[in-house]
Symmetry: C2
Subunit: 382 residues, 2 copies
């Protein structure tokens, strides 16, 4: 039996759900992402597409594709549906379809959003304010240290750090981000059930456990060179901005930055010595309009993380998990005017350490509180 | 006899020349640069000011200053005139007054040009295309090496490097520039007859010999802190642009850059590590709109040194000593299509090594020639 043979009628029952319609659409031979979006635009949902009938479909995509869509799904698709449903048995595995409430709004708004997101880990991280950190696989020791330091500081303010699980800068950013409450999202270029590159296997497992792995690729999709550039649009699509730490003059990070700019995301770049080959890409970006940054505060300021109404991207306002004006007012009230231990403050407030850290950072940036030695904070008398 | 006493009538004869009128105007008690410019605007020349009479002067600057200007010059001014005339006996010493043909046009066009320029050395350098290189006195070894390398490369293309004879970046830039045909101008904050700082005395002597020392201050003016910021406007005023190599977050180089931008000059800055304190000033400038540069070619491109019609600043067009279209055509014709020694090329052309270097650089940047080992160049077959 060939892979392309129709599946027996007895198996079609398994397609009878929301997710299976999506998998069937995505897997349909000859239907790329662009065509899928065109069909969704025309018919509204995968189910409606498969129920539209040959004439209506042919008017959109021609008779050949219409025939494919009207035929029962190929055997490979049915197998993939089975695999996917089995994979979803694990409590930390999720698949989000475009239009689902949990599908990140910022990503949905890019020109070519993935139809499906395969998630391994904390799906709640997708609702957090997020910043991407990317850079060279052949990063320097200093570059990796910078990536980790920025990622930790961002994560400590509650910002989720998005990257691509590559060696070098990506891995350092994920590791740094795992130290803070913001945690990290790894967008991978293989099926979410695979781990690539092998040297990052332990890190991938930690991210699946404490953070979140995201893929748009069907389970079992192997690493192929074409997947990684496409994956980059998701890294920036999930984020308010992209910070490039180290990048060669001609490199993938520059493509990610270009795509990010096209998506309306802010691009940040770290400068370096004129003699450092991996600073050249960042310098190119800065010349082309990227924001030169030296500190995390500059990134947060540009992300419009303002003191009392922190919000990263308009798409996430209200559901971003960041402190509201009320939170900060409560926080200031609880602080009083004496040095106070952050742990004591946490006890007094109905919040978690991530929220509290973000609130404190916001107030510190606004000059309204001061950090004192020994983990204490104090209100500043203005 | 007090310093402020009028000089005897017998000495007034010494004022009877163009230069002495300028010295008398500049030295007049209560007449600052702004007032001097106002008077020159109203009356046209120092001589006309002193011949205008009390009523006309009082209408411009009030009765008190008018009285000063109508009185015979003070004794100190007369002494200064004597000193200046004696200093001018040396063939390499010059004084240029605003409006003189040799007074640099670019400098004359700034809002507050010096009335007089005291010159020690090659006055012809003032007509060259010029770029300022400035930076920290406490520069790093790498910073000084960068300053010298940029200065040498610029000077080798015929661009004169202007700086302030301070320790650190300034000194390195002067030293680097002395290696090329473009040479160097040091704008000092003391009288041109003094040498400051002492540690740069040997360098100052070399510049007076091979380059050019410029001051707006009367002979004998000691180094005072107020002079140096004012001196900076001349550094940028003489130049098409200002390149900042290393600068602390709050530093004089940033003031020079600000003044340069106000004068309409291009500001260039070298980036550095986010952990380097002396990169912070440069990063600040880049964030504020300065052009990030990594190579001399970028500086030359931004100065609009284009391949066949090199010209630095509009003010110097036509008299800038840069190769014309004809020069480059001749040069290409003489090059033929064989590797050729630069010395042989020089023999074949009616030009000097500075002009030739600039032409070659222009052609190299345009991809029209290639440099080969052993000082040879070859036309590139397009």
């Amino acid at each position: 039996m060939q892979d392309t043979d129709p599946i027996p009628a007895s198996r079609i029952a398994c397609l009878d759900s929301h997710l299976t319609d999506w998998l069937r659409l995505e897997g349909a031979r000859g239907v790329g992402l662009r065509t899928a979006h065109q069909l969704l635009e025309a018919f509204g949902s995968p189910r409606a597409i498969f129920e539209a009938g040959h004439a209506a479909l042919a008017a959109q995509v021609g008779p050949a594709l219409a025939r494919t869509l009207c035929a029962p799904p190929e055997r490979t698709i049915c197998a993939l549906i089975d695999t996917t449903l089995a994979w979803l048995q694990a409590p930390s595995h999720h698949v989000l379809a475009l239009g689902d409430a949990a599908y990140p709004q910022a990503l949905a708004n890019i020109p070519d959003p993935p139809l499906l997101l395969y998630i391994k880990g904390r799906v709640d991280l997708l609702a957090r304010p997020a910043l991407a950190i990317v850079g060279s696989r052949n990063a320097t020791v200093q570059g990796k240290a910078n990536a980790a330091a920025f990622a930790t500081a961002l994560s400590e303010t509650g910002v989720c750090v998005v990257s691509g699980l590559a060696l070098g800068i990506d891995a350092a950013a994920h590791e740094g981000a795992l130290r803070g409450a913001g945690s990290t999202i790894a967008v991978v270029g293989t099926g979410a059930d695979l781990s690539y590159p092998a040297r990052n296997r332990a890190l991938a497992a930690r991210i699946a456990d404490e953070g979140c792995i995201v893929s748009e690729y069907a389970l079992g999709t192997p690493p192929t060179s074409g997947n990684f550039p496409r994956r980059n649009r998701i890294i920036s699509g999930l984020s308010s901005g992209v910070l490039v730490i180290e990048a060669a003059a001609q490199s993938g990070s520059l493509i990610t930055a270009r795509v990010a700019a096209e998506q309306g995301r802010e691009v940040f770049a770290l400068p370096g010595s004129i003699h450092a080959p991996l600073a050249k890409g960042c310098h190119r970006l800065i010349r082309d309009g990227a924001r030169l940054v030296e500190t995390v505060s500059e990134v947060l300021e540009a992300m419009q993380v303002s003191p009392l109404t922190m919000s990263s991207s308009p798409n996430k306002a209200g559901t971003n998990g960041l402190p509201t004006e009320t939170d900060c007012t409560d926080l200031l009230a609880q602080l009083g005017h004496e040095p106070l231990d952050v742990d004591d403050l946490l006890d007094r407030l109905d919040t978690d350490i991530g929220q509290l850290s973000m609130g404190l950072l916001a107030l510190e940036m606004a000059g309204m509180i001061e950090r004192l030695p020994g983990g204490k904070v104090q209100r500043v008398h203005l």
